[in-house]
């Protein structure tokens, strides 16, 4: 118990004094996850819109795959990315293993299905609502998709936040492909795992506080978005 209390006190101190190491790790975490989020959104949102409005034979199959991939264990993603990026792997020459880029790739793969699934659901609902109007206005495929994405933007933001929450708290995949190298690929979750293992509770807890703070902020934002969506009449 004494350990825990002194750890808590130290952790609190680290956070309020903006300890250099803590800040470095937190910022790297944000950089990696935000990059992954941006890439994932660029892939997932148009994909979701396309699947929602386009009728093609493999549509149900694609949706089923997306839903299945949502439950993909991150460790497995990490393993697969590792195999691809390792020196003897197909993309080995790029030398990406144990770099932040590798972590971005892994996180992107993990959250694309999640974002696409959530986005697809709301875009499809909106498409049902808009269908007759847009068909009647003779819109092009591109105009249709842009309209739906824009008018779904709150739901899409919710999807993106969910993706962010999943990526920032993920540890298995980025541990494998990033290697948790100090000053290079160490991020919040991997650092917590390491410091806990070493018995350095203060830093681990401080990192945990930051992570919890981020998670709470994201969930509050999702909650708030959901509420304004209902109240705003859209």
């Amino acid at each position: 118990m004494v350990d825990l209390w002194s750890g808590l006190a130290q952790a609190f101190w680290l956070v309020v004094t903006l300890d250099a190491e803590l800040v470095e790790i937190a910022l790297r975490s944000l950089r990696v996850t935000l990059s992954a989020l941006a890439v994932a959104c660029v892939i997932a949102l148009p994909l979701a819109a396309f699947v929602a409005v386009k009728r093609f034979r493999a549509r149900r199959f694609v949706i089923a795959i997306l839903n299945a991939l949502m439950g993909l264990p991150p460790v497995v993603v990490g393993l697969v990315v590792y195999v691809f990026l390792s020196r003897s792997g197909p993309l080995g020459v790029m030398g990406l293993l144990f770099t932040p880029t590798a972590m971005i790739i892994a996180q992107t793969i993990i959250i694309v299905p999640l974002i696409a699934s959530i986005a697809h659901q709301s875009i499809r609902d909106l498409w049902q609502e808009y269908h007759d109007l847009l068909i009647s206005m003779n819109v092009t495929q591109g105009q249709k998709i842009r309209t739906l994405l824009w008018d779904c933007r709150r739901a899409l933001l919710t999807a993106a936040l969910a993706g962010f929450g999943r990526a920032i708290g993920e540890v298995g995949a980025i541990m494998i492909v990033g290697g948790n190298i100090d000053h290079a690929t160490r991020v919040l979750t991997t650092a917590i795992a390491l410091e806990t293992g070493k018995g350095e509770f203060a830093l681990a807890l401080a990192l945990g506080f930051v992570l919890i703070g981020l998670a709470v902020a994201v969930n509050l934002a999702i909650h708030w978005l959901g509420r304004t969506e209902r109240e705003g009449g859209w």
Binding site: L126, E129, Y130, D132, L133, I135, S136, M137, N138, V139, Q143, T147, D151, G232, G233, W234
Partner: protein, 236 residues
């Protein structure tokens, strides 16, 4: 660009082998209001959608005086239950103009003008989905008319509206008619049909049972079914 005359030859809409509407032969010239009347399930909505091109033709063909793609560009459609874009009133009005590449500033000016015409001038920044039913219908009408279509289809545009809103919409329609917009509307309101119609199509069981100039149809209907329908009796 000339859309009329429009000829429909033997058009049909079928579902699972069952004929819902048709076969219908119809020629429409380019002026006035054509009112489609008939009992529930007679096929009014389906006919309008076939003519507009949003329902698939199972048989027959529709020829406009210009290529069909061109013709589609000059048509508008107002649904019985208005579809509101999840945007503000102003953005709803701008939308069809932006689709046609009208510059934003100009589109805004025209949107304000139309909002004023339908009495929505002080609601420009309100979210369209929270408008009342009548306001939504007026917005849908303005949104359809703002791109100055040559033909406007309206499917029971006043079905859920009170007398005053109905009158306001009829005024807008009469004005649109006088400026050369062809109106093709379905309605259950015989008073409205009399006020607006130049021609009448009386549908029964998916076919045109009687048609002709409004004056003739309302004063000297030829078929017993049309007479019964106008009396308000049940039509067999």
């Amino acid at each position: 660009m000339q859309l009329f005359p429009m000829t429909a030859k033997g058009i049909e809409s079928r579902r699972r082998g069952q004929v819902l509407v048709g076969p219908i032969d119809l020629t429409l010239d380019g002026t006035g209001a054509c009112v489609v009347v008939g009992p529930n399930g007679a096929g009014k909505t389906t006919l309008l959608r076939l003519l507009h091109g949003t329902a698939r033709l199972s048989a027959g063909q529709i020829n406009w005086a210009c290529p069909t793609d061109e013709a589609r560009h000059h048509q508008g459609f107002v649904f019985q239950r208005p579809v509101m874009l999840r945007r503000t009133v102003l953005q709803n009005l701008i939308y069809p103009l932006r689709l046609r590449g009208v510059p934003l500033a100009q589109a805004r000016d025209r949107a304000r003008d139309w909002a004023a015409r339908v009495g929505l001038a002080d609601m420009l920044d309100r979210a369209a989905p929270v408008l009342s039913g009548g306001e939504q219908q007026k917005l849908a009408l303005a949104r359809a008319l703002i791109s100055e279509p040559k033909v406007l289809f309206l499917d029971e545009p006043c079905a859920a509206l009170d007398g005053r809103a109905t009158r306001e919409i009829e005024e807008i329609l009469t004005h649109a008619k006088s400026t050369g917009t062809r109106l093709i509307l379905s309605t259950h309101d015989m008073g409205q049909a009399r006020r607006l119609a130049d021609q009448v199509l009386f549908l029964l069981g998916g076919r045109i049972h009687e048609s002709g100039p409004a004056e003739t149809f309302f004063n000297r209907p030829e078929t017993p079914q049309a007479r019964a329908f106008l009396r308000g009796d049940i039509v067999e």
